[in-house]
């Protein structure tokens, strides 16, 4: 089912807004994770981890789910389809990967926030976990940048399924 132009523009606006918002929120999260890992100021460390928890639950998770949902609507509601073009398929897989990884990593984020709220963290406390949050945020940022690049450049290439559909459409037009 193909959406009408006005509805498609609305869906596209929702998708771009949620996807770019997700990217920006992860960039902010990365800055907080670096501050939490490297700052010598106990108040700064505490504030960083508390802010990361809030940002995760009230900005990043909702935006990631919105991006996934609006992306599905956008592809299924246009002639791009979901499985016809490699770039759409690659972007879908990257978005699912990033969303699942995010949902799996909400626990350590909340753990760090709880630890920061209860105690004054020294630079050695929970160091492995704090490094992991920086690495995870950096990896997430990279994945989202790749997804954004795919969406902008739309590298050509049809999947076998897309080629089959294309041939059927061409045959029906003859």
């Amino acid at each position: 089912m193909t959406m009408r132009p006005r509805l498609r523009k609305f869906a596209l606006t929702a998708h771009v807004t949620s996807s770019v918002g997700w990217l920006g929120a992860v960039a902010g999260f990365l800055a907080l994770a670096v501050a939490g890992l490297t700052s010598q100021d106990a108040q700064m460390v505490r504030a960083a981890y508390l802010a990361m928890d809030l940002t995760t639950w009230f900005v990043i998770v909702p935006l990631s789910l919105a991006s996934l949902l609006t992306g599905l609507v956008q592809s299924l509601g246009t002639t791009w389809g979901l499985f016809r073009h490699y770039w759409v398929l690659a972007k879908l897989l990257l978005t699912i990967l990033a969303t699942v990884a995010l949902l799996l990593h909400t626990q350590p984020i909340s753990y760090m926030a709880s630890a920061a709220a209860e105690t004054t963290l020294s630079s050695a406390d929970l160091r492995g976990l704090r490094i992991q949050l920086v690495v995870d945020a950096g990896a997430a940022l990279l994945v989202l940048l790749v997804a954004t690049t795919l969406a902008v450049y739309k590298p050509p290439g049809m999947t076998p399924y897309g080629r089959k559909q294309h041939e059927q459409r061409m045959a029906s037009q003859l």
């Binding site: 523009k9 508390l50 909340s110 709880s114 209860e118």
Partner: protein, 72 residues
């Protein structure tokens, strides 16, 4: 690289107009190889225990959470 041309009368990118219908493009093959290497690295790092210390430390769970979604 040019965008696929939209359908006539359509000023948004609503879909392709055929696009490349040849065999699997090189960028897909290269991306697939990179993805497989990354997945293998990830699995090896986790199996050999050289990760960053796991997710949450065991044996201690903070009792409070800022958002109420704390570690269970």
């Amino acid at each position: 690289m040019d965008d696929p041309p939209p359908y006539p009368g359509d000023d948004t990118v609503g879909g392709p107009d055929g696009g490349s219908t040849g065999s699997t493009p090189r960028w897909v093959k290269m991306s697939g190889i990179i993805a497989i290497v990354l997945v293998l690295l990830f699995v090896i790092v986790h199996l050999t225990g050289h990760g960053l210390g796991g997710h949450t430390p065991r044996g201690h769970t903070p009792s409070t959470s800022v958002t109420g979604h704390g570690a269970q």
